[in-house]
Symmetry: none
Subunit: 189 residues, 4 copies
Amino acid sequence: MPRGRTRDEAAHRRILEATYELIGSGDASHAKVDDIAKAAGVAKQTIYRWWPSRTAVIFDALLEGTVQATPLGSSDDLREDFTTHLQGVIRVFNSPTGQLIREMLAASAHDPQTAEEFRQRFWAPRRARSKARLQEAIDAGQVRDDIDIELALDALYGPVWLRLTVGHKRSTQQQAATIVSNIIDGIAR
Amino acid sequence: MPRGRTRDEAAHRRILEATYELIGSGDASHAKVDDIAKAAGVAKQTIYRWWPSRTAVIFDALLEGTVQATPLGSSDDLREDFTTHLQGVIRVFNSPTGQLIREMLAASAHDPQTAEEFRQRFWAPRRARSKARLQEAIDAGQVRDDIDIELALDALYGPVWLRLTVGHKRSTQQQAATIVSNIIDGIAR
Amino acid sequence: MPRGRTRDEAAHRRILEATYELIGSGDASHAKVDDIAKAAGVAKQTIYRWWPSRTAVIFDALLEGTVQATPLGSSDDLREDFTTHLQGVIRVFNSPTGQLIREMLAASAHDPQTAEEFRQRFWAPRRARSKARLQEAIDAGQVRDDIDIELALDALYGPVWLRLTVGHKRSTQQQAATIVSNIIDGIAR
Amino acid sequence: MPRGRTRDEAAHRRILEATYELIGSGDASHAKVDDIAKAAGVAKQTIYRWWPSRTAVIFDALLEGTVQATPLGSSDDLREDFTTHLQGVIRVFNSPTGQLIREMLAASAHDPQTAEEFRQRFWAPRRARSKARLQEAIDAGQVRDDIDIELALDALYGPVWLRLTVGHKRSTQQQAATIVSNIIDGIAR
DNA sequence: AGCTAACCGAGACGGTACGTCAAGTCTTCGG
DNA sequence: CCGAAGACTTGACGTACCGTCTCGGTTAGCT
C-alpha cells in the first residue's frame, strides 16, 4: 500500500494538455520545459518525476492526443477505406498533433533511441494495421500480388508525411481520394 | 575592387567540409560549433562572420555537398528518367547528406524561418525540375492530363523522404524502379 | 517564507573565497570566471545568478575579505590611534586584499559605474570613520581647526595607496608611525 | 640608408593624438584599438607596426602629452617651488592625461612588466627630480635631515594620486598650497 | 626608367574570455 | 510521500576585443 500523498492525476493530465497546446501551436518558440511546467501550473520536478525527458513528455502528449483519430475500415471498397483513413490522417496532421509529430521526428534526428521508440510505439501499430488492410486487398485479388507492400504503403502515406515535414504545401481533405487513386490506378494514361 | 585582406576561401571550404563530415557521420550528439571550428582549423568567430548561426552553416554544407548529385534526364523514357533520378536521390539520402537533411528538417521544426529558407533554397529548385519533367510527360501524352502534379510528385518522392525521416526501412537502389512503377502504373490488378 | 530550494550559502562563500584566493595570488593573467567557478566547484551560471559580472564578484570578495581588519581606535593618543590603524591598512594592502583593490581600481578606470560603487560601498564607510576620528582630534584641540580635513586624510592615506597602485616601494609596518608623524608634525626643521 | 617608403610621421602623430583624445575623454567605453585606428584614420596594422600593444600606445601618448607640464623650480622658497609644481601636477591630472595615467595603472595591475616599464619611464625621472629638490631643502636646513625622503614625497604626491585613482574628490589648484603646507608644517596645533 | 623594399588602409583571421540559455537534477517547504 | 518553487550542474551558444596576417596599392632609394 503506497504511503503519503497520492499521485496527482490532474497534474499529470494538465502537463500533457499544456504540452499538446504549446508544442501544437507551433509558434516559433519551441516550448521549453519551463514553459510547459508554467502552463500546466506544475513544477518542473513533477514533470521529470513521471517522464525521463522533454521528448518523452511530447511523445506521450502525442500518443494521448491522437488515439482514436484515424480508423481504417475493412469494407469491400479498398479505395473508400483508404480514402476515409487518409482523410483522418490529414485531419490529424493539420491539427496540433502534426506539430507534435514534427517535433518527435526532429528529436529522432538527434537521438537514435528516441527514433526507435517513436517507430515502435507510434509508427509500428499504425503501419501494421495498414499493412493488414492492404494484404486483405491483395488476398481479395483487388491488388497485384507481386507488389512491395511496404513501398506501396510508403507511396500512400508519403505525400502527407512529406507535406508535414517539409511544409511546401498543406494537405487537404480532398487530396485523400486523389492520393489513393494515384497509387492504386497509377498516373499513366 | 574589394579592399583589405580577401576572404579566405580555403577556410570557408574547410568549414563546410568539416561540417559535412561531422554532421554527416551522425554520431550521437550532433557536432557543436566549437567542434566544427576545431576540425576546420578555424576560429569560431570566422564561422560567425559568414553565417548567422550553426544551422545556417549546416544548410550551406548541405547545399554545397549535394549540388549535382541527382540529375533528372529528359529522354523519351519517363520510367527510366525518374528511376535513374530516384536512384541518385536514394544514394544521396544514404550518404552523409541524408543526415544533413534530417538535421535541417529538425531545425525547421523549431524555426519557421529556417523552414522557409530550406524550402526556397533547397526544395524549390529541385521540385521545379521534377515538375517540369513530369509536365513534359503529360504534354507527350505519357501521363494523364488530369492529375494533380504536386501530389503525384509527392507520391514519387514520398517513400524515400519518409524512410529518411522515420527510418523504418532503408531505401535501396533497387526500389527506385518499383517506386516509379507504383506511381505510374498503379498497384491495382 | 521563501519557497523552493534555498540558496546555497556554502557555494556562495566558496565562490568569494576562490575569487579572493585566485585574484589575490596575483599570478599573471587575473583569474578568469571559469577558473573561479572551477576552483569553487560551482557552475558558472551560479556565479552569474548572484552577481552581474566578474567585477562584481571580485568586489564582493574584497568586501568580505577585509571587513574588520583595520580598526581605528578613539583613545587620547591621536598618533597611536592612526599608527595602529595604518599598520592594519598596510597589512591588508600587503595581503591578497591589496591585489583585489588594485583590480577594482583597474575596473574603475574602465567603467564609471564600477568606480562609483567602489567609492560608495568600500571607500565611503572607511573614510567616514577616519574623518570622524580626525574631527575628534580637532575638537580635542590636538589638531588645528583650520585644516582641510579631506586633504589631511589624503596625505595620511596617500602614501600607502600610492605604493599599492604604483608599486615603486613596498609599504612596511614601520612606516606607519613615520607617515603619521610626517603629517602631524610636518617635515620642516 | 633605409630603402622603401618612408615612415608616415603624420600617421604616427595622429595615432598618439587620437589615443590621447579617446582615452583622455574617459567616457565609459575605454577606447578599443579599432576605435583608435578609426579615429586616427589609420589601419590597425600601422599601430602594431610601431607599438607592441595597446598599452604601449597609451603609454607613448601619455609620455608625449605631458612632457613639459610640471616644472619643479629650485628657488630659496621650498613651499613656493613645490606648490607651483603641484599646481602643474594637478592641472595635468585633471586634463586628459589624468585618464591616461589611470589607464596605465589599470594595465599595470594586470601585467607586472607594464608596471615596471611605467615606473622606469614615467615615474622614476619625475621622482628623481622631486627627490633632488627635497634633498636640496634638507641640505639647506629647511627640512629635517632625519626624515624618510621617499615617504615624505609620497605624502606630498599621495593626495593628488589618490584622488586621481579613487576619484572621491577632484583636486583643485588651490589645494596645492594646502598640501605643501600640511606636509611641511604638519597639522598639529 | 624600372626594380624592389618598406610603407599604407582595409579588413579577415586565430585565439581567449565573457555572459546567456536551456535541459535535467537536487533541495527545501508545505500539504 | 507528493507537489510547488526555485537553486543547482552541465554544456553549448553567440559576442567582444586583442594582436596577426594578407590583400591591393603607394612611395621611396638603388641599379
